[in-house]
């Protein structure tokens, strides 16, 4: 029981990270109908920028307390958002209107470019970082087993919920969000109403990248070790989450992320750690076969 509770806590905090990345996948898919396979690497970039910020702060002797974490988060979001914007501008916009497969291939190419760029510029070795928020609170004690909710996990859950709340507000309550939904439903019509669709798409990439940066920073704080390759696995899992939740659906992405996080954690806790990725990806296969629209996805209606 206590063991299961601990796994639940671990699973939720991991799932939140997947959820944040999955939102980026699903948003881009919603607006231009393309899977941005480089999105996982944007998450990796976010983690690296947070790490670099932390090292700079540490060199100045200021790596301490919530202000430092907030600064890491904000700087990572700002720079990663810029990466997102550049990516769309350089790699995807020129291909808009070409055949469907073209941007997909570019996305895979871009993913390789980003990985190698970080490998060359930052080195291939894993980068460790000291724990910024050691300790936690004891939730429950069952015999010898202590269920612990670490401060980092609390931070992850808190920050993710706050970021998602702001994001939801942005999409449902603001003209930018309305423009994004309009572009999603009928891009040409949106343009006819005076919406600058190119700019709206750019902003979608920017917001998606900023969310991935939050995920990257949280990942860094939680695991303390990153390398240039973390984006691949995290990206594919977040993609699985987006598909499971129903690609194109924002609440679906978060729900899918949580489920993948929980499945992965419980699988490693009760069955085998080595096969945790197999468990997560089997979900992708099963979803695609039996529930292609996902849990919260809309049925695709083809219109002529």
């Amino acid at each position: 029981m206590a063991y299961a509770l601990q796994q639940l806590i671990n699973g939720i905090s991991l799932g939140m990270i997947y959820g944040l990345i999955a939102v980026g996948y699903t948003m881009v898919y919603g607006i231009i109908g393309m899977i941005n396979f480089a999105h996982g690497d944007v998450f990796m970039i976010g983690a690296f920028i947070a790490l670099i910020t932390a090292l700079l702060l540490s060199a100045g002797g200021m790596l301490d307390g919530p202000a430092a974490i907030l600064l890491m988060l904000l700087i990572s979001m700002a720079f990663t958002a810029f990466y997102g914007w550049t990516m769309e501008r350089v790699a995807y916009r020129p291909l808009r209107g070409s055949f469907r497969l073209a941007p997909l291939i570019t996305a895979i190419g871009l993913s390789i470019v980003l990985q190698n760029y970080v490998q060359v510029s930052q080195g291939a070795r894993v980068k460790p970082m000291e724990a910024l928020l050691p300790g936690g609170i004891e939730v429950m004690r069952d015999g010898g087993f202590v269920v612990q909710l670490s401060f980092t996990q609390m931070l992850i859950i808190g920050v993710t919920l706050a970021v998602l709340a702001v994001f939801t507000l942005l999409v449902t309550r603001t003209p930018l969000g309305r423009a994004m939904r309009a572009c999603e439903q009928d891009r040409k019509m949106a343009a006819l109403l005076g919406i600058d669709t190119d700019r709206t798409i750019s902003l979608t990439f920017v917001i998606g990248a900023a969310l991935a940066a939050v995920a990257g920073t949280m990942y860094l704080l939680r695991y303390g070790v990153i390398d240039f390759y973390i984006g691949f696995l995290a990206g594919v899992k977040a993609f699985t989450a987006a598909v499971l939740g129903g690609i194109g659906s924002l609440p679906g992405a978060v729900l899918g992320g949580l489920l993948i996080g929980l499945i992965e954690t419980f699988w490693s806790a009760y069955f085998s750690v080595q096969y945790k990725d197999v468990a997560a990806f089997s979900i992708l296969v099963l979803t695609l076969i039996f529930l292609p629209t996902g849990l919260l996805g809309r049925q695709e209606v083809e219109k002529v």
Partner: protein, 277 residues
Amino acid sequence: MKPPAARAHRDMILEVANLTMRFGGLTAVDRVSFTALRGEITALIGPNGAGKTTLFNCITGFYRPSEGAIRLHRPGALPVDLHRLAGYRIARSGVARTFQNIRLFPGMTALENLLVAQHNTLMAASGWAVGAVLGLSRYPAAERAAIEVARRWLLATHLLDRADDPAGALPYGAQRRLEIARAMCSSPGGPALLCLDEPAAGLNPRESEELARLLLEIRADGTSILLIEHDMGVVMKISDRVVVLDHGRRIADAAPAAVRSDPKVIAAYLGEEGEEE
């Protein structure tokens, strides 16, 4: 009636000059020229395949014409070359349109559809959405004003009680009216030119009657209208001028009564022996 010379420049809103649109070997619009006057309803009629919708698509930036020019004239401003502008800039210069097959945002409510149309005004007021999230700046006031405009047009189109229903769930006639309302919201103070592609298609006689009344109201409000329509009852009743296209060419351009008795128009609609000439 005004003499043709006086028609030429003074009151012009839209000028189409030698417009040609080719799709590969097919010439859908062939050197068509006409003008639409400010404050008038200009109807564009012709048999199926005459090139009416293609012409509309050129005016609203869906297609880039192969040749020729489309200019929007607004009082106190330089003429705008619509054929050179990107789609969203055409909308911003004051041209709005509706579609033969309705193109609302089906997943958004009727009210939201009208708010999307006011995107530019709202976006400017919201300080790039940052203000809207934080509840700061002039945004709340701007949004109230936008909702007010939207409510006015919902009222005018008898849709006020359906404001919060998804647009896709509205009955057909209501969707047609909502599309017109949305076009009317797309520029502050209403668009300069409203292009309607078969607004009466699929409407019953009572609904057509209401539509005609709505269009006259819109004209009285200061918006000029360019109208494609097959329902001759509506066309003859509300149009100030009728331009007739056939096989991509302009075959008549006159007042409704004159067009109705024009032998070339009758021939185009009823078919004629030796049409090839």
